[in-house]
Symmetry: C2
Subunit: 317 residues, 2 copies
């Protein structure tokens, strides 16, 4: 009987990656994922062996796979989980928190948990419901809150870099969205590694060259327990519909998503996109008088304004 | 009973254009198409009332609708049809030629026909089959031949501008393809109006702001007879698959295709795309020693090399 073989050992392959023209058995796939991620970290100068890295953990496959990989590669990577209080019906937040804590305990890793409702008095859905920006869907508010708390956690914990589990499918979908509307500022800014500046940690995406099915396969083969349901608010999002479209193109021509993202980065490197102030990130920024994070708003930053302007005594523990 | 009404006369609407938020009865839709196209011609300075315009006619709905509109608007627009000899099985070329000739006769318009097989000794499919570039599919060769013959016809007939029937769906699909691969040269160059230069007529697309369903509705309501089958070689093309994807997005959010193309043009106008030599179109170009058209090849142009290097005595009549 003929079957596809691992190109390292000749055993039966567990995964076939048409986009990379690679086939591996379980062990050699797991090994490849480590090497591939490490090479991304180095190629894009994301962080070094001695950098204290804060990994943003959602409890899903991507962030836990990333944390696992960084841990196995010997990086100094601690976790940070935000309990958003999205619990109506599905217990989404409490379940994902359990997966995050379980993972940290099993590997004896440090995980900082911030319980948003406990610290700020209301859950994300409640906060979104009472603000203009969150009407309809809380995704915009939620993203803003997560970015703020991540910066805060990095600053207070002395981490120079925050790593997120965004995979290639995520990157391609965001790029696709920015490109469809020719959103010039976003198009000029999207990057797998953004360097930090005063009061703002660097942001890196070490898995951005891994397809979603690769991070899923990694989590599965590494027996990582993770929350499999999506956030209940993500249903019907445009970002998910763009992923479907990109998958149709990928099916037709394997490697489409990778080429789309990599050729974009090449175009950017070639100086193809020209925009005022793309490098002048500090343009008009000043510290928020309440929390100290950089903001372009004349008074408080958006987070502090949304929350109500009075920071809790113990926003971070 | 309630139905959608024409916003001009209040009669029952024949067409609802969600992307423009416009509803019209037959007569006011036909009138709108004339105005809309004329405003495109003027806004993009495509040509004037006294310009001699050569319209590239395929026999399909778009090019015949365009010719009809230009004729009704009182522009000096003559037609040019290339019989490509794509006739196996479907009589595609001979049928579309009949539609072109019938249209010209009915309106007493001047149509120049070039019979490629008669002039150059072989049909496009035969030519494609014997050349490297045409292997698999003749589309690339066919496009190159059409561009060459159009330039030749414009030059020999004293037309300063060639108008093609490309609609918004066509423009969006090409842009989508260029963007997916971040084809920098093509991305920086795509435009609804390209000015001419020595030995090369200007190229304009007066229907580029009309959706395909609008040009189809125009042809139908104006009772224009046109070839309804697509070129047999276009089946399964990536361009058609991109149109399907764009239609999925359009269904989800009416106006997506229009915004995609218009925001791209705005980004280009803002100077968002930066590339060497985009304006230096003449860079490295010189006249082909056989036909005289501009080429960047050291010897003959691609057309003359493909054809065999000996121009027929009467390539144009």
């Amino acid at each position: 009987m003929s079957y596809i073989r691992c190109q390292v050992c000749g055993q039966r392959a567990s995964i076939r990656m048409r986009q990379h023209r690679l086939n591996y058995c379980k062990d050699h796939f797991l090994e490849w994922m480590l090497k591939h991620t490490d090479s991304t970290i180095q190629k894009y100068r994301m962080f070094g062996r001695n950098t204290r890295v804060l990994v943003a953990i959602s409890g899903g496959k991507d962030s836990l796979a990333l944390w696992d990989i960084l841990w196995r590669l010997g990086y100094h990577a601690d976790g940070f989980y935000i309990d958003l209080g999205i619990d109506e019906g599905l217990d989404y937040s409490s379940q994902s928190r359990q997966f995050a804590e379980q993972f940290a305990t099993s590997r004896n890793l440090a995980l900082t948990v911030i319980d948003f409702k406990k610290e700020y008095g209301e859950s994300i859905p409640t906060l979104a419901a009472r603000t203009q920006r969150g009407k309809g869907k809380p995704c915009s508010i939620c993203g803003m809150v997560k970015r703020h708390l991540m910066n805060q956690a990095a600053e207070q914990g002395g981490y120079s870099v925050v790593a997120t589990g965004h995979n290639l499918d995520d990157e391609a979908a965001v790029l696709f969205s920015n490109m469809l509307g020719w959103n010039q500022t976003q198009l000029a800014r999207q990057a797998p590694a953004l360097s930090g500046r005063d009061g703002m940690a660097g942001k890196v995406k070490p898995l951005f060259r891994c397809y979603e099915r690769e991070t899923a396969a990694y989590a599965f083969l590494q027996r990582i327990a993770y929350i499999e349901t999506e956030c209940p608010f993500s249903a019907g999002s445009t970002s998910i519909s763009y992923k479907h479209l990109l998958n149709q193109m990928e099916d037709r021509s394997p490697g489409t998503k990778m080429r789309f993202v990599m050729n974009y980065l090449k175009a950017k490197e070639d100086g193809f996109f020209h925009i005022e102030n793309t490098n002048g990130q500090d343009e008009g920024l000043h510290p928020c008088p309440v929390c100290g994070q950089a903001t372009s708003n004349p008074d408080m930053c958006v987070f502090c304004r949304t929350i109500g302007g009075t920071p809790p005594d113990k926003a971070y523990r």
